[in-house]
Amino acid sequence: MKPFRIIPFLLLENRRLVKTIHYRNPRYIGDPINAVRIFNEKEVDELALLDINAATAGINYEHIRKIVSEAFMPIAYGGGVQRLEDIRTLFQIGIEKVVIGTAAVESPELVSQASARFGSQSIVVSVDVKTDLWGNRRVFYANARRKLKEDAVAFAQRMVALGAGEIILNDVDREGSMKGMDLPLIRSMSQALAVPLVASGGAGSLGDLLDAWQSGGAHAVSAGSLFVYKGPLRAVLINYPQDSAVQAALSKRA
């Protein structure tokens, strides 16, 4: 067993699997059902699905149900989650954890209500961090278009106080770059939080994931490009490290 969770982060756009860079310019990378089947065989710990279109088009429950019915692993879903009713429906169709993003900023009571109703372990709040025009790293929401004044760590702490059972830290600046993760930010957040932190954005190698866990203190790490791309030409090829590869990389570091 791996000592920490490694979660492929998949983006959906209209039933298609896509990959973005800084959440922009989605490139088609395949049929989500087939991707999930391949991840099944690779014995993936957990999957995170984010529908980048759901905020405007609504949540496509039927399609999510199909994906969930093919998946052997627990799935966290995010995108367009606005009401308690949405969360209930997602759990009904087999989603394990629901990720609340924009709604956590705009109507934080949703986090406390959902956590009271369904249990905090299944409610995740996504903290999207991006550099603003003044060069400061801030929390953004509404598809990274709107900025929050509050500090990222303070915001995450407030969400945990409301009942979030897990925080996913999304580094929008590094998303899709494969250039490495922001370890100081991950560290400052993991030290300040009493709940598990999932670090996401920028991973370009297994080493980056190990860094986020070992020196960043994240409980889990998540990556998109790393698990769907191969080589310098960014060929689409689903991959996932075997337990043995993780252990080997760890013992090399020790």
């Binding site: 298609r16 088609y28 087939n34 391949i38 191969k230 080589g231 030409l233 090829l237 991959n239």
Partner: protein
């Protein structure tokens, strides 16, 4: 399918399930004669073969000078393409591996490809076909009732390889076509995948989704690539010692390759199509052609082939799972897929094609006029 007029070739294992099979007075079929013809043309005697290989490799290297890659290789994760990847590296070429992802990759195929490019240090380029378009085109072929429903995938592969060669300025596409394992293929069982007119005609009649990004290659593009860009194929396996079992052993040891069962079963669609659909709907068992090729190449005896054919082409118990899987994947009900399989077979010639264009009424009239 034994019947009153059932007959099996006495040299290979082809039989009258090929409606166009012809036997000579010794009971040897036309496929055997065809094999002998092309074999003497394409397979050189020992000594000459090595020389031909060396010459060709030297030429490919010369053409690749100053470029990042010498040649394109298609990479599906199957035996042929994996073996070629190993061989071209051994020969000192700098290949670019190209993969067409039609939405049916098995985990085995994907991990084989990963192992190959990692261990050999080959760059990989992929073209992922929009699933909605592939699905609609494959469904169109199913609904049309023609035998070769693998044309959509095969055409996309041809188009993607040529486009990649063109984009990366590469002139040689090293290909897996070979006489050792695929010299026998009855015409009646299929139709060429290159024919874009045929594909469009079938899609127009039975398709619903517009093909916007599906990789295609028309006759004009083909002519442009061949004549103007001087892109050529190199069927390298004909210049190498190619024995499937030995090749499998080698790639398993060298590349961590894993076996997935049957020929071309790296695509879950092809697996279903060849081992179930063709057998059930048309009575065509592709293993006949495959084993016959092996028998003629001397890498299997006729008796071994007959024993292997005793086994059913598909596992009856597992088949409802596969049917469910394919129907689900294609977003149709299982009963509809069963209806498609039960509906009457049609011939490729019932639909427009470049071939029908060539032999159409007005073409005949023009030909007469020109005379």
């Amino acid at each position: 399918m034994p019947s009153a007029s059932f007959q099996r070739c006495r040299r290979c294992v082809m039989d009258t399930s090929d409606p166009e099979i012809v036997f000579d007075s010794d009971g040897v079929c036309n496929h055997c004669h065809f094999h002998d013809q092309i074999r003497s043309r394409y397979i050189l005697p020992a000594g000459e073969r090595e020389k031909a290989l060396e010459q060709r490799i030297r030429r490919v290297k010369a053409e690749g000078r100053g470029k990042k890659y010498d040649c394109i290789i298609g990479l599906s994760g199957g035996v042929d393409s994996s073996y070629i990847a190993l061989k071209v590296k051994e020969l000192g070429l700098r290949p670019l591996a190209v993969h067409m992802d039609g939405g049916w990759n098995s985990e085995l195929a994907v991990s084989n490809i990963e192992n190959i490019v990692d261990r050999l240090g080959i760059d990989l380029f992929t073209n992922v076909v929009e699933w909605d378009e592939m699905r609609d085109l494959q469904l169109s072929f199913f609904r049309s009732g023609v035998p070769n429903c693998d044309i959509p995938q095969d055409h996309a592969i041809i188009a993607v390889l040529l486009k990649a060669a063109n984009a990366f300025g590469v002139r040689t596409i090293v290909r897996g076509l070979n006489i050792a394992t695929e010299s026998v293929l009855p015409q009646a069982w299929g139709y060429s995948a290159i024919d874009l007119r045929h594909i469009k005609a079938i899609h127009k009649k039975y398709g619903q989704v517009k093909l916007k990004t599906f990789p295609t290659c028309s006759i004009l593009e083909l002519a442009y690539y061949y004549a103007f860009k001087k892109i050529t194929y190199y069927d390298i396996l004909n210049n190498l010692e190619y024995d499937k079992d030995k090749a499998k052993e080698l790639i398993t040891a060298e590349l961590g390759w894993r076996d997935y069962g049957g020929k071309h079963h790296e695509s879950l669609f092809t697996k279903f199509f060849q081992s179930y659909y063709l057998v059930k709907k048309f009575g065509f068992d592709k293993r006949l052609a495959h084993y016959s090729s092996l028998v003629l190449a001397g890498s299997m005896t006729r008796d071994q082939a007959l024993v292997a054919l005793e086994k059913p082409p598909y596992d009856d118990d597992r088949m409802h799972l596969e049917l469910n899987f394919v129907a689900n994947k294609m977003e149709i009900e299982v009963v509809e897929l069963e209806r498609i399989i039960a509906s009457p077979p049609r011939r490729h010639t019932e639909f427009p094609s470049y071939k029908s264009l060539l032999f159409s009424d007005w073409a005949t009239r023009i030909r007469k006029f020109l005379k």
